[in-house]
């Protein structure tokens, strides 16, 4: 099967929240609710488990290996184990954001 090379919305995709009260934080897509919304959680980045519209999410290149609907406690463990924060900090996207803050 031929697959295209885009960043897909999938369980485990780490997303950057672009606007709203949690703007600027990272969260993981834990489940897809419908065509427009996802269940999103970021236990290590201060995002409580909630639904978010895809419009507010910008997909990063990081995908975590988690089962669908993983609860926050285990999600935190998986986040730390798979070193998501480290992967994010090493991307040029994150570095540009950090440079802008200076």
């Amino acid at each position: 099967m031929v697959l295209s090379q885009f960043r897909f919305v999938e369980v485990g995709r780490v997303a950057y929240i672009s606007y709203g009260p949690d703007a600027g934080k990272l969260a993981v897509i834990v489940d897809v609710i419908d065509q427009n919304r996802a269940l999103v959680d970021g236990p290590c980045s201060g995002v409580s488990r909630k639904q978010m519209n895809f419009k507010a999410l910008e997909l990063t290149s990081i995908v975590m290996k988690i089962p669908r609907g993983l609860r926050p406690g285990n999600l935190r463990k998986a986040w730390e184990k798979q070193e998501v924060q480290k992967k994010w900090d090493s991307t040029t996207w994150a570095q540009k954001i950090a440079n802008k803050k200076k």
């Binding site: 031929v2 697959l3 295209s4 090379q5 885009f6 065509q35």
Partner: protein, 188 residues
């Protein structure tokens, strides 16, 4: 209803190279190069590997989904044009007044005289990339080119230039009509 995802692929044969950027497709082959833009369509056109083009549509409605396959067909026609070329044969059909066709400008245009005995000389210019020449058969000529749209439009211009006015067209069947659509390089 919106379909989550539809896609279709086109396989590029050996000897043909394709490149896609921003919905502009360029196909290069032994007979030349063809370019076509699909910027009026909201589809994703990407190259997967070196010899497959994939056309995708995400969350498409009924009419938008139809565009996926048409883009693939256009690309397939470009590949065919660039490897085999398109050859359209046209025959002049007349009951009493022989239609005189003279090819001008080395195959760039054709002059049609004596259609239905009229003194009016019809001059039809071919689209760029299309050449016309008389064939060995009587009352026949041949249009050749790489771009199927150009060749078929040129043939249509000739056919429509020889329309009969103010007469019963079921009886006055004179004209120049497309008799055969094949390829320049014969396919076995």
């Amino acid at each position: 209803m919106k379909e989550l995802h539809t896609s279709q692929t086109v396989k590029i044969p050996k000897g043909v190279s394709a490149s896609v950027k921003a919905r502009k497709v360029i196909i290069k082959g032994p007979r030349g190069t063809l370019t076509r833009t699909f910027r009026h369509l909201a589809v994703d056109i990407t190259m997967v590997g070196k010899n497959t083009v994939m056309v995708e549509k995400w969350f498409g409605k009924h009419k938008e989904l139809a565009a996926v396959r048409t883009v693939c067909s256009h690309i397939e026609n470009m590949i065919k044009g660039v490897t085999k070329g398109f050859l359209y044969k046209m025959r002049s059909v007349y009951a009493h007044f022989p239609i005189n066709c003279a090819v001008q400008e080395g195959g760039g245009s054709v002059e049609i005289r004596n259609f239905l005995g009229e003194k009016f000389v019809r001059k039809v210019g071919m689209l760029p990339g299309v050449s016309i020449k008389p064939s060995t058969q009587k009352d026949e000529f041949i249009l050749e080119g790489n771009d199927i749209e150009a060749v078929s439009t040129s043939a249509a211009l000739i056919q429509q230039s020889t329309t009969v006015k103010n007469k019963d067209i079921r009886k006055f069947l004179d004209g120049i009509y497309v008799s055969e659509k094949t390829t320049v390089v014969p396919s076995d």
